[in-house]
């Protein structure tokens, strides 16, 4: 092998490396981004924790001190295909503005729905210690009966007969008769363009919790903190809380 050949090999190798690096960047550039942002409110009134008073459909007045829920397995669909977000677990917490929105990349094209689970998919409920959004330090994992709390609403109401007029809904249960995980399907027509970002604001109406398939009155049920029939009814109701703001 003569010197020129050796030079050639070195140069080719360097070029190859650059090519690989460039391609890595390109796959990023070929994609667009979708941002989902949840806007918690009560029948159109913005949610202010520990302050504003709200009225439910049964004229029961209440305040909210905590509102959090899990969103997992998010995907965007068009007629042919579905694109999943990787490692898709989000704890949406009204007390933490940064948690209200998240983004992921999608291939360019037209989409017509956003799908996700309201709650944590069943497998992660029985696969041992999790981390990140699912870390038990986030106080969304039951220690007395393994499984995630899918949605938490706490506050006070003059209609409540519980201690200190509290209201407390820790809705969970991931299997069998008490599976509170809800499949959410939101029609959404949007187009993803490479390198661009699309934002989908999702109105999240807490007042749906009281009325829908079932009537839930604070006076009758101020607390629900175990997997049970009441939890199933509440989950049925609040599964309708999302609507995309057009």
């Amino acid at each position: 092998m003569n010197n020129t050949n050796k030079w050639l090999i070195v140069i080719l190798a360097i070029l190859l490396c650059q090519q690989v690096m460039a391609q890595n960047n390109q796959t990023q550039n070929n994609q667009g981004t979708i941002t989902l942002s949840f806007i918690p409110n009560v029948a159109g009134k913005p949610l202010v924790l520990n302050d504003s008073s709200y009225t439910n459909p049964f004229d029961e007045i209440y305040q909210i001190s905590k509102f959090r829920f899990y969103v997992s397995q998010v995907s965007a669909k068009d007629k042919q295909r579905s694109q999943k977000e990787k490692n898709s677990y989000h704890l949406i917490d009204a007390a933490d503005p940064a948690s209200l929105q998240f983004s992921f990349s999608l291939k360019p094209g037209k989409y017509n729905s956003i799908d996700f689970l309201l709650g944590v998919d069943s497998v992660r409920n029985f696969s041992g210690a999790q981390t990140g959004e699912l870390d038990p330090v986030k106080n969304m994992f039951w220690t007395w009966n393994s499984g995630y709390v899918m949605l938490k609403l706490e506050g006070r109401s003059t209609a409540s007969t519980a201690l200190n007029n509290r209201i407390e809904y820790h809705i969970g249960g991931y299997s069998g008769a008490f599976n509170t995980i809800k499949k959410i399907h939101l029609d959404a027509n949007f187009e993803i363009v490479a390198g661009k970002s699309v934002s989908l604001p999702i109105k999240t109406d807490i007042n749906t919790l009281w009325q829908g398939a079932h009537d839930i009155r604070i006076a009758a049920s101020p607390v629900c903190a175990i997997p049970c029939a009441l939890a199933m009814q509440i989950a049925d109701n609040y599964s309708k809380m999302f609507s995309i703001i057009k």
Binding site: N3, K6, W7, I9, V10, A13, I14, C17, N125, F126, S127, G128, A129, Q130, T131, D135, P136, V137, F141, T143, W144, N145, S146, G147, G176, A177, F178, I226, P227, C228, A229
Partner: protein, 347 residues
């Protein structure tokens, strides 16, 4: 010229090597000592591999052991896992019907012995806990047990350089988080295996039963194996063995979790390995001797309970002689290779 081109080639290669290595974050080689999970000869495989995403290492086990014996996992520093789970009682709470917890509280159930947990599909008397890794969250945060918060535990551990060293040895870097804490404890509790009793030696042809033990063994196979089958001496199902309801506790057992009336008063069938040293017995520790337990099966079963197990509708008739032989047999299930094993002992 030739020298220069070799030099350039060399520089190029080093540059490329650097490029490829920077792709993965390298902090120096982490070489833990991997361990294998050994299933005793003749035993079934565990129903699921609880170590599938928690690869067993010597370093992980040692960290788990330190945590198991560390009172700092509790709010006031007084309650370690080992306070209620003592090695000399096969990790039950010796001679306690209920255990002492934080602020002079008592637990509401009897602390069970801990061994062969990798075979147990659901933990706790009512099956409330679905994976060994998440089990410690229960006692650590329970106000009548260790009464602590997980993030406070992590805060205490992070300040301790010995723990930082041990987490690094076990997991490759010094990050201390709840997942690692829980996985390490599971490496300890999940590898406590009891398979070295006289009964096991007899099965392996290394010892033989006395005539009374042999007679008790035969009785056991006909009268008790329906729920306490060999080699684990339990089928881990939930059943009602006819105990009267303890009015102070009103513990509905499995029904507390499933909310199904059919499960009322059903509790997990406990293993009878090490039973001679893990008294008192039953979910509320109501019996202090094996004699009392057998009298329960002979004459004490409350036959009026709708969820009473069909195997016990007629109780279990046994003569006094048979009762004694059965007790002799149950004593052969004591495993001193477990209670005296320095591997599981505090240093």
């Amino acid at each position: 010229m030739r020298k220069i081109s070799i030099l350039v080639l060399f520089v190029g290669l080093v540059w490329m090597a650097g490029f490829f290595m920077s792709a993965g974050k390298h902090e120096g080689p982490w070489k833990p000592t991997y361990l294998s999970f050994n299933i005793p000869a003749g035993w079934p495989k565990p129903p699921k591999d609880i170590f599938i995403s928690n690869r067993l290492t010597e370093e992980g086990f040692q960290l788990g052991k330190k945590l198991f014996y560390d009172g700092r996992l509790s709010k006031d520093g007084n309650f370690a896992c080992a306070t209620c789970h003592q090695q000399y009682a096969a990790f039950a709470n010796y001679d306690h019907d209920f255990s002492h917890g934080f602020n002079n509280a008592f637990t509401k159930r009897n602390a069970p012995p801990l061994f062969n947990l990798a075979w147990m599909p659901l933990l706790h008397w009512d099956g409330a806990i679905n994976h060994l890794e998440v089990q410690p969250l229960g006692p650590i945060t329970s106000t009548i047990e260790m009464a602590e918060q997980i993030d406070s535990v992590l805060f205490k551990l992070k300040k301790d350089s010995a723990y930082r060293r041990m987490f690094k040895a076990a997991f490759g870097d010094a990050t201390i988080n709840s997942q690692r804490l829980l996985k390490a404890i599971a490496q300890f509790t999940g590898t406590i295996i009891s398979a070295g009793s006289k009964y096991d030696k007899v099965q392996r042809g290394e010892a033989s039963f006395t005539p009374s033990e042999q007679n008790g063994y035969q009785l056991f196979k006909t009268k008790c194996s329906g729920c306490h089958p060999e080699p684990l001496f339990t089928d881990y199902s939930f059943r009602n063995n006819g105990l009267s309801v303890n009015k102070l506790l009103n513990d509905s057992g499995r029904m507390r979790i499933t909310r199904d009336n059919k499960d009322s008063l059903k509790f997990k069938v406990p293993s009878l390995r090490n039973v001679a040293i893990s008294f008192p017995y039953m979910h509320d520790g109501r019996f202090f001797s094996l004699g009392e337990v057998i009298d329960h099966y002979r004459t004490g079963i409350v036959t009026a309970q709708p969820s009473l197990d069909s195997l016990l509708k007629k109780r279990i008739p046994l003569t006094n002689m048979e009762k004694n032989n059965l007790i002799f047999f149950l004593h052969t299930l004591t495993d001193s290779t477990l209670t005296h094993n320095p591997r599981f002992a505090v240093h």
